[in-house]
């Protein structure tokens, strides 16, 4: 093998290595990371912190129960559902719904929500990403906590179901 042949061969190897590195970096880091599941978890935890602490309803939680559907979750829990002004988004990419069920006296459950209600009606489509071809779906989290209204004699005992959903299908998925 002459030195000229080796030189051409050397460039060929360099080309293969460079192409593979570029391809790997592009496929690994070129696409956006899908953090919507984490956003849903953080949102549900933020709401849980807002309504209950140490097994007792917070003042914000009590206000939600007092005011019912009129309660403003965003204001009470210091949340903002503003989103980037891209695609056809209109600050409608998030949804949170809280159901307060009084367990001892079995009163009618009280529902308070904020954000895009359509995400709740599409609940059956939650978390199906990767299951039906390349179609994209919202990420949702549904968890339950328990809380008491008073320290003394514990007062009323609530099961509080928190449902959160993050859409953002065009950008992050």
């Amino acid at each position: 093998m002459t030195d000229k042949t080796i030189s051409v061969y050397w460039f060929f190897i360099l080309f293969i290595i460079a192409s593979a590195i570029v391809f790997l970096v592009y496929t690994l880091y070129g696409a956006p990371s899908d953090i919507r599941e984490i956003e849903s978890i953080f949102l549900s935890e933020k709401v849980a912190d807002c309504v209950s602490h140490g097994g007792l309803l917070t003042s914000e939680g009590k206000k939600m129960i007092e005011n019912g559907e009129a309660a403003n979750i965003l204001e009470l829990c210091h949340l903002t559902f503003d989103s980037e002004k891209v695609y056809d988004w209109n600050d409608d990419q998030f949804f949170v719904l809280i159901t307060f069920s009084e367990l001892v006296n079995s009163k009618e459950p009280l529902i308070v929500y904020a954000g895009n209600y359509n995400l709740y009606t599409q609940k059956a489509e939650c978390n199906l990403n990767g299951m039906i071809g390349d179609e994209k779906f919202p990420f949702c989290v549904e968890r339950t906590i328990y809380s008491n209204s008073e320290t003394e004699n514990r007062g009323e005992y609530y099961s509080i179901q928190i449902f959160t959903s993050v859409k953002k299908m065009n950008k992050n998925a």
Binding site: E45, H53, G54, R143, Y146, Y157
Partner: protein, 170 residues
């Protein structure tokens, strides 16, 4: 300077072997990425504590601890109300892909009560108590552990709630 034919063949062979090794090493990650065996678009999120479960358990214990703390005086039996409360608590903690939760009730470090609630299949769950829990084993190690300590006189009571992986019948 011209090399002998043998030397040329040896040179060429070592370059070819080197090329094959390089292509194989680079080809493995390319193959894994292309076949989606490595999901590059999803961020994995590992935590050591489930804060929502901690809140759920705190609220439940605050409501029920008098019944639970008198467990020993009541001949180590829970009332049916407390039993169903524990079941519904463990059931509610399983929502959203969490496979199962267990409660162990320790009285002065002796385990005297055990209740588990596990996802058994895609559609079914199984509840079991201290009599039959040894018939099952859990595939993964403990993920979250929530310990709640109570003192009653000289006795120490520990409620140990923890979550584990999928349940398999032994």
């Amino acid at each position: 300077m011209h090399k002998s034919k043998k030397a040329q063949i040896s040179d060429t062979l070592s370059w070819m072997v080197a090329t094959i090794i390089i292509v194989l090493i680079l080809g493995v990650p390319v193959f894994l990425v292309k076949t989606d065996m490595i999901n590059t678009h999803r961020v994995n999120f590992e935590r050591v504590q489930d804060t929502i479960a901690t809140k759920a358990i705190s609220g439940y214990l605050l409501k029920s601890y008098e019944g639970l703390i008198n467990f020993e005086e009541n001949e180590k039996k829970l009332s049916s109300e407390e039993e169903s409360g524990i079941e519904s608590l463990l059931r509610s903690l399983c929502i959203n892909g969490i496979e199962g939760w267990s409660l162990i009730f320790l009285f002065n470090e002796e385990a005297i009560y055990h209740k588990g609630f596990y996802k058994y299949s895609d559609v079914g769950y199984i509840v079991y108590g201290e009599d039959d829990w040894r018939n099952y084993f859990v595939s993964d190690t403990k993920k979250f552990d929530n310990n709640f300590y109570f003192d009653k006189g000289e006795n120490k009571i520990l409620f140990d709630f923890y979550t584990e992986g999928e349940l398999i019948k032994g």
